[in-house]
């Protein structure tokens, strides 16, 4: 059975680490089921696979981990997107890289911990290639990846205004947040694999 996390972390089937992951069999199985629900859904609804992989390729590139970045870059090609879109997603991710998590707290004692960072906005040329709907999604996604504590209703309203339904936004939020999990699982297990005893 396909296990994307194991594949990307380079864990050989039958190895000690492969078996160790089975100590949490439901977590392992449903991490893969999560991937399947987001990227091979029974019904895509109004959030197309091309859009899903465009967001995923952007998220993976922002994290800068080569194994997951290359995997989603390839999936974006397989999804049948235009070379122009593929290049734009990659170049926007490069322009938008940052160091996180940063962001602001409600006014009070935690204000001392506020830290500023890039608030990403898609430029005019890229917006022309991406279209308003996907450009808005990448802006929302960048906030979710690097500074989620800055989240506020105006960003969601911008998504609604750009043609995303409430249900689409739930799925997109799950997709970006799941990738934040999956990319870290791969990085963590890869480090453990490098120190296999």
């Amino acid at each position: 059975m396909t296990d994307v996390i194991n594949e990307l972390a380079g864990i050989a089937p039958g190895s000690a680490l492969d078996k160790a992951r089975d100590n949490r069999p439901e977590a392992r199985k449903h991490a893969q089921a999560s991937y399947d629900a987001l990227f091979t859904p029974k019904d895509v609804g109004t959030f197309s696979l091309q859009e899903r992989f465009a967001v995923a390729a952007f998220v993976a590139a922002l994290h800068g981990k080569e194994e997951t970045r290359d995997f989603y870059k390839e999936q974006l090609v397989v999804a049948g997107t235009s070379p122009e879109l593929q290049v734009t997603v990659a170049s926007e991710a490069f322009e938008a890289r940052a160091h996180g998590p940063y962001g602001h707290y409600p006014r009070g004692p935690l204000s001392l911990e506020n830290s500023d960072g890039l608030v990403y906005a898609v430029g005019a040329t890229a917006r022309h290639v991406l279209g308003q709907r996907l450009a808005t999604a990448l802006e929302h996604t960048h906030m979710l990846v690097f500074h989620p504590r800055d989240a506020a209703p105006p960003s969601l309203q911008a998504m609604l205004d750009a043609g995303w339904s409430t249900t689409d936004i739930v799925t997109l939020s799950q997709l970006v947040s799941f990738l934040a999990f999956q990319i870290r699982m791969v990085a963590g297990l890869k480090a453990l694999n490098a120190r296999a005893t």
Partner: protein, 201 residues
């Protein structure tokens, strides 16, 4: 017709990290309890979650909600070997503290305190942040959670060595990786789909 975000009712927002019970108010319209389909109810896993606006909002996409929930439950509740429950909760609380999710941190700091009986150390993590000095083992678990949560991700073989040095075996290390990674998922949903509120009183 374009949908609109919700404006939560008047409430008091928490301005510090706390172990108090908090409410959570959605910014997008959850599925109504009485209109949940059988598939949506099933995706909640626990029937009682039909009372929660957070889970009813996520139930708009039941397949990913159910997979998310079953991943979560196994990482934190499976009693088989690995890291003690208290320290899985510590990794969740540390991740939430760094990402700035006051709601998630409140829930998992409460669990960490209950299961470890180390209320003052857990409170120190909330008050001082992820650089708080707890003890060698807890510092290593918090540091690993921080390295995994940072973006670019800062976690590498040296973190594995440090966790082994304080007594974690591979099953326990996988639990740290699972718990910290999972909270990078959970924090982003909680932070971006609604806001915490102090409970009345």
């Amino acid at each position: 017709m374009t949908e609109k975000t919700l404006t939560p009712p008047a409430h008091k927002e928490p301005v510090v990290f706390t172990r108090d019970q908090l409410d959570w108010l959605p910014w997008l319209e959850p599925a109504a309890e009485e209109t949940l389909t059988p598939r949506q109810k099933e995706s909640l896993v626990d029937a009682a979650r039909s009372k929660s606006p957070y889970f009813r909002l996520l139930a708009r996409d039941p397949d990913i909600l159910e997979a998310r929930t079953r991943t979560d439950k196994d990482i934190f509740y499976n009693p088989q070997a690995g890291l003690p429950r208290a320290e899985r909760e510590l990794a969740a609380a540390a991740t939430s503290r760094l990402n700035g999710c006051i709601y998630c941190a409140s829930v998992h700091a409460r669990h960490a305190a209950v299961y470890s009986k180390r209320e003052s150390d857990v409170q120190k993590l909330l008050d001082q942040g992820v650089s708080a000095d707890l003890d060698a083992r807890w510092n290593a678990i918090v540091a690993a959670s921080v390295a995994l949560t940072a973006i670019p991700i800062d976690f590498g073989p040296d973190d594995i060595d440090r966790l082994r040095k304080v007594g974690l075996d591979d099953l326990a290390i996988i639990d740290v990786i699972n718990a910290a990674s999972f909270f990078n998922w959970a924090n982003r949903l909680m932070l971006s789909l609604g806001e915490p509120a102090t409970t009345a009183g």
